[in-house]
Point group: C2
Chain length 356, copies 2
């Protein structure tokens, strides 16, 4: 072994959600949107001039920042854009969590939170959700180096009320609180209005779910101007030009089509409620979801076995081999047709296995 080996940062390898590319698959495993991006995005893509690719993109990402500022009724100086919300969140960790005290997040939550903490040597405590998979707000009143949680939570889909979020933020004036709203557009109330009242709050969203643009890698943060400036300072010192020319323009076009955005979100919510009802009729249990997925279990079904059976039929869902949730499956909401196929298979499986 060479001596340089000892100076390598060794991380716990993270396995990203599978991206299968089979024909006729039903892909319900990474919470992508079943509907294409806005027709305005399609039209713009066709009209792009490849000549401009020779030039660096605007490091300020102004066209997209302006579109987001207008949509969310904040100043452009209150918007930070990154390469997906993973990039935005990692930049937040690097920028805001430097106290040496443990940061706090739920025990069942987005799987990157502890990964980034380990990557940047930030201590952390994961706080157990209660038996209904809800955040216990009082747990977050202890001394800490920062707070982060998704709303709705992932992979549970459970909402934390805006009143509870405000309590958590108000109890932590000396650290930055990040609300990760990756799934906010499927029925939850955003904490963005609270940023006027609390200077320690930052809200992060993504284009990967409700805006049907996981393939374009766009995430953003909204907060007060000072926090956004600090984030941009770190970003510029890391890589000044992150969002490429194509994504920047397509992202702005997506934000400008509010009607399409509302329409697809409405469709997904309707499909979710319909799927939930049918699954419950089959004996499945799940928390009330405010996201574009359902987190399901069945008292008589082994989740891992069902996962494998679904896979054999080219239906992909997500399983987490983690304490407390190791008999649950996370099922992304697809189109009605896709969910009908999924439900039909589940019925068939239960009949075959004599489960009723």
């Amino acid at each position: 072994m060479s001596n340089w080996e000892s100076n390598i940062r060794k991380v716990i390898p993270y396995t990203p959600g599978e991206q299968p590319d089979a024909k006729d698959m039903i892909k319900l495993n990474t919470n992508e949107n079943p509907y294409p991006p806005s027709p305005k995005v399609t039209a713009l893509l066709k009209s792009l001039d490849s000549d401009e690719l020779r030039l660096y993109p605007d490091p300020k990402v102004q066209v997209l920042v302006d579109a987001l500022a207008k949509r969310y009724e904040v100043k452009p100086s209150q918007v930070f854009v990154g390469v997906g919300s993973d990039d935005v969140l990692a930049m937040c960790y690097l920028t805001f969590f430097n106290s040496g005290k443990p940061i706090l997040f739920p025990d069942i939550t987005y799987s990157f939170y502890d990964v980034w903490a380990n990557l940047y040597n930030i201590p952390f405590k994961d706080l157990p959700l209660d038996e209904n998979l809800c955040i216990v707000k009082e747990d977050y009143y202890q001394d800490n180096g920062g707070v982060i949680f998704p709303n709705p939570n992932a992979p549970t889909g459970v909402e934390t009320s805006l009143a509870d979020i405000e309590d958590i933020v108000a109890h932590n004036p000396d650290v930055i609180c990040i609300v990760d709203e990756a799934y906010i557009d499927f029925g939850c109330e955003s904490a963005i209005p609270l940023i006027e009242k609390y200077d320690n709050l930052i809200v992060v969203q993504t284009f990967s779910k409700s805006r049907s643009m996981a393939g374009s890698r766009i995430g953003f943060a909204i907060g007060n101007e000072r926090l956004i400036k600090y984030l941009n300072d770190v970003k510029y010192s890391f890589n000044s030009y992150t969002i490429d020319r194509v994504s920047m323009k397509l992202g702005a076009a997506a934000v400008e089509d509010e009607a399409y955005f509302q329409e697809t979100n409405k469709k997904i919510i309707a499909t979710r409620e319909r799927t939930k009802e049918r699954l419950e009729a089959l004996g499945f249990e799940m928390p009330d979801s405010k996201s574009n997925f359902l987190f399901i279990s069945h008292p008589k079904i082994n989740a891992k076995k069902l996962l494998a059976a679904l896979r054999e039929r080219n239906i992909y869902v997500r399983y987490f081999d983690k304490p407390r949730i190791d008999n649950m499956l996370r099922v992304t909401i697809g189109t009605d047709e896709q969910m009908d196929c999924f439900l039909a298979f589940i019925k068939e499986y239960m009949e075959k296995e004599n489960i009723c």
Copy 2:
């Protein structure tokens, strides 16, 4: 001031090279390629289906990794891809420079090297170039935590011979040596063949210069499989999906068009030599450049004054307010027509100022 202020990472703000958007400007300030990307890139862009943007990109970036592996005659497992070479280099710092000992780089070099060191709390020593702006290889034989330098160097354009590079790499078996070949395709010899012999060498290149795709944000590293695996582990733990679907495909199309790549590089080299000759005839001095820029000074001209005069005519070049190089201008090589305009203005300026 809130208490959270004290936990914020404060970085020395970095000012990216200006991206002016004036009409009829001659943009010779950020080393972009004056020629558009390959016609194959243009054709592919027109044919892309926006529907696929709803899906995450392939986290392995396989289509692009495979194209690069084929082009550079290495295994796909020896190629790492990032969001521009800045992203690749920053990932290299985070992954490889953890010994606590100072890393080494030239005093006059790419301005991000010390920025990343500061960002990640990595100690560093900058080693003076000699009076001809050449790297003194013996300086790099001292105990250190890693080595990084560009070849050719920026903003000087000066080449370090492959023999000298091999000496530096061979003298540093216990640390990782990074050769940053952002400008390699304009007349230098790449160190990529050395990676078979030295397991501590990693070579980084970019699509922003010779491949006319600064706007797509693609950089890559080539090294032995172990180094590439470590880089990918860190990348996956940070953000699994960084290269978006569009850039990935366009990048692969660019790599596959070797003829166009050779042709544009040849044109730029010819324009560089022609421009150099004419500038020298006007009394300008400059090191021999193996890049797509010239680093010029004139014993009778104040660089800052000339910079301002050029700017008034909508001609943008780059100035660095740093010791030893504060009377020099870095001039990107544009088309012959652009360089003729630049030269015509220089002549006019010298006449007006009575410099001969």
